[in-house]
Amino acid sequence: MAKKSVVGEARQIQMAIELINLGARLQVLEAETTLSRERLLRLYKEVKGVSPPKGMLPFSTDWFITWQPNIHSSLFIEIYRYLQAHSKVDGIEATIKAYRLYLEHVTLHEMDPVLTLTRAWTLLRYFDSDMMKTTGCTRCNGQFVVHTHDLHERYICGLCAPPSRAGKTRKAAVLQAAQATT
């Protein structure tokens, strides 16, 4: 085994802290850093003040296809791809940077950050393993997240043709009622 570099470890801890603050689950930290599980556990407790959530990561690819998550994941993927194509950033750092830009967009427009960092990370793994890809909408030419093995001929995205109940949540109704009274 190569000798452990102290500076390298410090950098890893720094990155782990950043990931924890962005809401990463322990599994993400284990995969992306070389720190031991025990250290990551302690770090997590120190940063968040609570034990990390237990259990499996969300593993459904279908989640990314549903209307609102699809918009958010497509936005994240496009930012990520832009960074990959035009800057030198790579690996988990690219994920973090793209996720920050995504969060920025979402907060600016007062949307809920539907896509968590862990989900974003999982999505990239699905892309790597060819379970998901993007396909072009035939109306707006935008690229959207789809299952690799579905049929995508004449695909129209959820934004060009929203399903009839899309976005009609209880929260939206309350907001609208509030606007109507003022």
């Binding site: 958010h72 930012i79 920050r100 967009h105 427009h109």
Partner: protein, 105 residues
């Protein structure tokens, strides 16, 4: 507004734009590449411009920054308002991220 004032305003806008670009690049190069819509090579060059060079570049009768909604669809999405505002902005961002970056030929 006479043409002299107009030129003055263009110069100021150009200078502000260049300074902001440099600031963004120095703070976080990768995010700046996304925000400015340029590629890394061009970002490097902008970063290296000296103040004197910035002044010379800014003194022009044309604006240096370009419109990014060179597409009817994106423009319509960006001007959306009301309840569709948030969703349209996401749609526009998805489309704009796919546009090619400004790069050196």
């Amino acid at each position: 507004m006479n043409s002299e004032q107009l030129l003055e305003q263009i110069r100021e806008a150009n200078l502000n734009y260049l300074l902001l670009a440099q600031h963004l690049i120095r703070q976080d190069r990768d995010a700046a590449v996304y925000r400015l819509g340029v590629d890394e090579e061009l970002a490097d060059l902008i970063d290296k411009l000296t103040p004197a060079q910035l002044m010379r570049i800014a003194s022009s009768n044309t604006l240096l920054c370009r419109f990014r909604f060179d597409d009817r669809v994106i423009l319509d999405l960006l001007v959306a308002k009301g309840e569709k505002r948030a969703i349209s902005s996401a749609h526009a961002a998805i489309l704009m991220a796919q546009q090619p970056a400004e790069a050196l030929a």
